[in-house]
Symmetry: C5
Subunit: 323 residues, 5 copies
């Protein structure tokens, strides 16, 4: 679905262009066309391919949906694949995709399976004509920046979740089983975000320093800014991964420790009752010559003795920290 | 076994060529020969070696079967080893091998221990003469693409298996023993696929960018596409490896947690019966002066007391989550 | 908040300069201005941006606070982000930030969320005019050196904490639970310090050797000194990380070993009382023909026998190291 | 001990040369001398040093025996250290060493602590004069190839051992203790082989591509073949390492799972007998008013009740999979 | 403390030089001065700084003691920091430091906190005038070689300790607790040695190949020899680290396995006595109609039955390997 298609000159909006009319604007020097599609059909993509002379392999990737961010040069056209990340209302993490084709005088962005609106990107860019003058390379930066900025709240959510789990791990009343489950789910989310961030970081690295594609050459400082954001996210993700690994170990440690405490308690109570049972067993023996059995004070004394022995043991185990 | 041997000119099929007649076509400018062998014998390979002037070491590798994908240049000839992967009907993962020799005017592919048909590759290539015109380099791409495309369903199968095991791990009724077994088997499969993918990725990397062998110079964008596919597979494999390692740990955690719960239950029931046994022991003592023994209500009262004590304990353990 | 703003010439203090008057000093050859701000407002930063011609992206970073040390070149201006680390009186680890803009004839430092006084840096620098003559590049070094020097006591504190935990782990009386908690907290601190050190080390690496920004070219040996300090800290942090990981494992081992010892003790005592209870049970049987029951020595002999058996078992378990 | 010393010209054996006469052959153009020593004494080495002008440091290494493969250039002489690996009849893994000095017109190989015969190398090389014509560089390849080829059966043996241990781990009847022992021993062997392979791989890498020592320049494709073999071995070793680490974890998991099953069984039987013992305790109480005691059917009914209760519990535990 | 200060010419000892007279020898062409200090005071260092024109930062490092080996160039002077390692008589591992300043015509070595005598280095060097002729670069090599050679016995000691612990781990009678303690202590020592070796290896790497400091250019083969020694040590340390990590895991496995065996034994004996106690309980019941109680053979038969049942269980558990 075509969202909009606008021609720009000297950083200013020139006109809304019907898709069929793009060619005439491309021919105009100092002018570039910015087309935005959403969940584009094969037909729409083929039309764009003809307008902009895009490579078969790139169109194929845009059509099938790709699962990995990347940046590829085809002649003087740049093909960039970005992954969008969104938390659904039910707190699930969904990935979408934004494909951007950038040529010397055009930008074509295709958004798939994503509720992200990139409209804001265009509006903001149009408010800064002195920037937009930098051309398609700056538009690519704007799109990237918008996509990457939305990673931050997601990474924050992952960090909060980890903090909650951490406090649960050290809380003796929480369910260790539940903790493991949540850590495992968290780890999978971190992996998802990492798959969006890491290859992109690598790709953006090619847009600054060294040999830079022609269309990006005037926006290098901006790409460095995107790379810096991605580095920060990446740093957080690496910490999360390492901490999750440690947390799983720590949770296991806490379970083992808790089990060891229960074993001690079990041992202590088993000891107390073993002694008591043994003592009542003594006076249950049928020897004829057991003088204490015949005394009036025999029974209360026996009970007192049993209770005393048990209390002594209980007190001792208590002091040893077993009870 | 010779499958077929065809000469091409300007991207179009010229003629089926008998093996003995290859030389005359090689001499023709703008023409190349594409030979396909299956489970080739030493004799067949030696014949081909003479026709195409192949290096001893490469022929030796093709004959003995190699266990690692690679790409080697011998003069202006390229020798590429690919691994094929197939799931047998009994769900076992088998590896085969495709060796490709690519020269300026010939392609020789040798398929070993593999049920994969590469016929489709030739048919598809012949349907696109404008591509096939790129020469042997494009044929090599077509073969690689066909082999790599068949890795995807296998990687998908590994991912599904992991998802099944994951849901089992968190299902208290599943056998932890079985989970470990399946995780271990899955890990071994991942390792097998990784051994097919990783060295190939490295080899394909040499076919794009930097210094590229002459025969591949016009198909670089296509090799980049293969490299991209391999990167995606590699990304999935790395996630699988890491997740399997975590899953083994998590499974151990779940076992320890389950054992800890059983220990608690055991402790609770042992406690209840220890008390009951102790109490019946009291009234089994043979003291003469035990007034309750002589009362008509003694027996029912004792039973009531015992049941009451046990119920109280049961209720308490229940509340503590031990029962 | 402006702390101070001073112009220097030939390494000597020229004059305190009001912010509005900076421009005239910048124009003077052989002279540079050094401005220090604290928790700067947007207005202050915009004023400075106009005075020194700073880049929008750098100002934005300085305003929002960044969470990752870095070094970026904008034309001939260098933008450096440093993290300060401080132990609060309640022994918490807080991070602050120092942003430094360095141009050919100015230095602007902005300190945020930090109780660190950088005043000492200026005083010390002014005492060494032959060094200060090296210009803004040397000032940057002085600031860096001051920030990095304060990492050392923090790293020392982390090492001491680890030593304490280590001695606790091997002390049978300490709480394993507490050890895990402290190790986990220590690990998080190490991660925090690492996040301050590692990206800075990378950034400082660009200020020595290879291609060095113009303003730093005369102070390279000093940056190498900073890099050397960071390397030492980094070495310690890596050891800490590895040792903490090992310590968590070792603590788990010690818990498992302790549990295994308790299990042995439990087994031993359970054995002793099981035998005793069984023996009193024998003479509690109601067979008519049990001659020993009728003997006067029956009861004492039985008690002696029971005590003897228990003592024998106790002694045996003792020798086996179970009790 | 001198094994043999032969001069070659144009790839053909010229003559057996006494050690003292080497000099005259070295002077002859197009001719090279190939000397083989075994467990050489200091005197022999010094003699060779004088003949071939070898460097002190290399001779020192050859004398003391080195523990790490390497390749060093001393002027136009190459000094290569190889490790040989052999399984002793008692299945122990022993390492020996082969030191090779290669100059423009000589090869000197010194074999230490190794039962490997390198004679076969000479015989095979002499059968292929067109190869041997390549000179000392080819001889070095032949020796390397012979040493590396003997790594394969050893690596195969390690893989077989791992497969045996794997099947044991999942076999409930095997001794977990024995499995750990064997895994540990296997890991140590893998480390030994790795120490022979990894530095050699690095060294051989310098003999192909980039800047290659003069004497090896015509045999590059052969060194690449050796490197390829080493890569394959290295790939297998890496898999082994990773799999052993996983197997140790899995073995621990299996032990924990097995223990958990025993705990369940113990809990179940303890429960059954606790109930039975409690019940016989009831009718062992001495209350006068226990009507069932006086009935003729009392005893058999009690036994039936007890057996019934136990059977019901047994059946229930059975169904829960505890028994 | 000044140990000695000697001037050399053409590799031969010229004269012992008083510290104040160094200048005149430095001026003499083809002559160099070699000064050795021990635990130098600030004054001594400042005197040397003036004599040799050393850099402030290097002197500061030499004074404060550095904790990390490194190599830094200041103009044409080289500053090298080495760590010495010594086992104290009580088997503790102590680190000292040797700082070496190397200029075109001087060597200054400063030894701190070390009982190592470097005197031997000078004696040996003076015995080989043809080497000493290589100048200060060769002296640096001699010092390095002496320091590195003393790492070998320490690494050997670490390996022996690991072997002892390994045999203890698989010895069922050893204390698992002690094993963990020793492994942990060993790991810390390995880390200490690693901190001495790794940065030095990196530094020495700069003294061979590529761009080499002028003073070392004629001794490159000797530095490669030092690098080779360090590589060997490093290889051993890496193996130690990995093996220690595995050994900690294996020790935990052995503990778990041992506990599992004890649990089995406990379960078995508990079963035997539970049955016996239940049986004596039966005949302790007070039913009037228990005919066996009245028989003369009742008691012995009951005892026989009990013993028989227990023996049967014992035998069965024995066969199952539980007892």
């Amino acid at each position: 679905m075509l969202i909009n298609c606008v021609a720009y000159e000297e950083g200013r909006r020139l006109a809304d262009v019907p898709a069929s009319d793009i060619g005439s604007y491309l021919a105009r020097p100092g002018c570039f066309v910015w087309v935005a599609l959403r969940d584009a059909t094969a037909d729409e993509l083929v039309q764009m391919q003809q307008q902009f002379g895009l490579h078969d392999l790139a169109i194929e990737d845009a059509l099938h949906g790709h699962q990995r961010p990347k940046m590829e040069e085809f002649g003087d056209t740049l093909f960039v694949v970005l992954q969008t990340l969104e938390l659904s209302p039910t707190d699930e993490l969904n990935t979408g995709e934004v494909d951007v084709f950038v040529g010397p005088n055009f930008v074509l962005s295709v958004r798939n399976r994503s509720r992200h609106h990139l409209l804001g990107v265009r509006t903001r860019a149009e408010r800064e004509p002195h920037m937009l003058k930098l051309g398609p390379g700056f538009v690519l930066y704007s799109v990237m920046d918008a996509v990457v900025d939305r990673y931050f709240p997601i990474v924050d959510a992952l960090e909060s979740e980890l903090e909650i789990i951490e406090s649960r791990i050290f809380d003796a009343d929480s369910s260790a089983r539940e903790n493991v489950k949540r850590l495992y789910a968290l780890k999978q989310r971190v992996t998802m975000v990492r798959h969006a961030v890491l290859p992109l970081l690598e790709a953006v690295g090619k847009l600054k320093g060294g040999r830079v594609p022609q269309v990006c050459v005037h926006s290098q400082e901006y790409y460095r800014d995107v790379a810096d954001h991605l580095e920060r996210i990446h740093g957080v993700l690496e910490s999360l991964r390492e901490t999750i690994a440690t947390a799983i170990q720590v949770n296991l440690s806490m379970t083992t420790i808790a089990e060891s405490e229960i074993t001690k308690r079990l041992a202590a109570w088993a000891g107390v009752f073993a002694v008591a049972t043994f003592m009542v067993g003594i006076w249950g023996m049928n020897f004829e010559n057991m003088p204490e059995l015949k005394q009036a004070w025999g029974y209360p004394a026996a009970l007192a003795l049993i209770i005393g022995a048990c209390a002594a043991m209980w007190w001792r185990f208590r002091r040893a920290g077993w009870l």
